[in-house]
Symmetry: C2
Subunit: 278 residues, 2 copies
């Protein structure tokens, strides 16, 4: 497994990799969610590249950039065990030199859900992903359904800007009790960790309602809220029943939807989602 | 010479071209300026691709999108005679499908000169050039110094977004009397065409002043303005002495500068520039 830091080293190393190349962009502190993307890339592609970069431009001024967990040695060990060919660990100075001033933004899709709660977040995401795509030049790139809006926004950017890259979105990986794997779960203390299953329980309740024939959006939202209200440590930021493609909030009777939510537990902000369709 | 319209055809045809691939993006109605870029690409590269697309997103609502001159048959004949390998003529529907919503923008560099006069212009330019770069996948791309700010903005975007593409900027090509070649020169009637040489005369006067030791920015601006005032058909939009890299307007004594101007003659807006340095 080759580990490179500069873009020049990256380009040289990348040129020697067999096609097709699968790419998994990460912010490190890897968990089973990331590794499921790596395995899928390994299965689909001749070679696999992973980037590890905690991207400052997708964190708001009040967010957890400084506290975001990091453990490069452990990450590299995990990736080596998965048979990854190339790991790129750029520095912030490489990615954002002093005179950096170019931004990639997606308009409508970011005016919902996370985009409303975290102004500027998706501009940071799409800008860094465009840079990673150009620097790495993969044939396929892998993202998790856990960040449903991010996946939709990156799909849109990739199509709109004609990147010759297939975006593959993989299922959310969960703990045994249903909590979606996330690097931020490490922020939770024991009581908070228990309370955090409320997102999974709330989504599951709404999915069961849908599958039992409950198609009214207000009923589905109320179902999710009822479960969330039962958890005193949970503070709801939003609960949404939206169109899976446009992310427009839905009303009335539906045949498919993205059920999603953002909840804070203590200081930790957690998101989760499930898709339902007929 | 292969001529393709869809992105799918483009990718297939491009895959068969020998590397390195040189690329000349154009809005068609080709003149010697464009052909000088094609020849430079031909000299530098194993194969040459040209795009012809009048990009609607770089025209303001009051600008000349509808009137912009077009002559595809003539353009194709000229490109064939230059030994171009591949011509891509996408439609607006291909480039901007209904749900298109992704934009590439360069911040500081566009807050000067043309960017101030034409709000949104450079966002349209950088977005379409990012799309063209991704669709064509060239090794080198060729732009004219005539559009000095465009060249600077595209250089910046290419570096900031890590496109693996070398941007090559080629000298302005001029008519015998000094008028910079431009597709928009076709809008000029006979009297206007004569008057249009005032941009060249004004810039030349300032260059001569600089070369004779005149290093004060106010003197250089006044030199340009004096010549422009002598032409009754010319209406000055701006006259600038700016830093060639940042495009910041300069004051006091200088050692190098981009001298540039925008002038309307009748309804036709013309721009031109010259670089001076010690």
């Amino acid at each position: 497994m080759r580990i490179v830091e500069s873009i020049q080293e990256l380009r040289t190393a990348r040129a020697g990799l067999a096609a097709p190349l699968g790419f998994v962009p990460t912010m490190g502190f890897l968990h089973e969610g990331h590794l499921s993307l790596v395995r899928r890339a390994r299965d689909d592609c001749e070679s696999v590249a992973v980037s590890i970069f905690v991207n400052p431009t997708q964190f708001g001024p009040q967010e957890d950039l400084g506290a975001y967990p990091r453990d490069l040695e452990r990450d590299l060990g995990l990736l080596k065990a998965e048979g990854v060919d190339l790991v790129w660990t750029p520095t912030s100075a490489t990615m954002y030199p002093e005179d950096f001033q170019t931004w990639v933004s997606v308009d409508e899709l970011t005016q919902h859900l996370e985009g409303l709660q975290r102004p500027g977040h998706f501009r940071g995401v799409t800008t860094v992903v465009a840079k990673l795509f150009n620097a790495v030049g993969p044939d396929r790139a892998y993202f998790g359904q856990k960040d449903a809006q991010q996946a939709a926004v990156i799909r849109r950017m990739t199509a709109d800007l004609d990147f010759p890259i297939e975006v593959v979105v993989c299922p959310t990986v969960r703990e045994a009790d249903g909590l979606a794997k996330s690097s931020r779960n490490t922020y939770l203390n024991e009581a908070q960790r228990k309370a955090a299953t409320v997102l999974f329980r709330s989504l599951t309740a709404a999915v069961e309602t849908f599958e039992a024939g409950g198609r009214d959006t207000e009923t589905l939202r109320e179902k999710m809220m009822a479960v969330l209200r039962g958890e005193p440590l949970a503070k709801v930021q939003y609960v949404s029943v939206s169109d899976p493609d446009s992310l427009d909030e839905l009303s009335g009777e539906i045949t498919q939807a993205l059920l999603s939510m953002a909840v804070t537990i203590g200081e930790t902000r957690l998101i989760d989602n499930m898709l339902v369709c007929d």
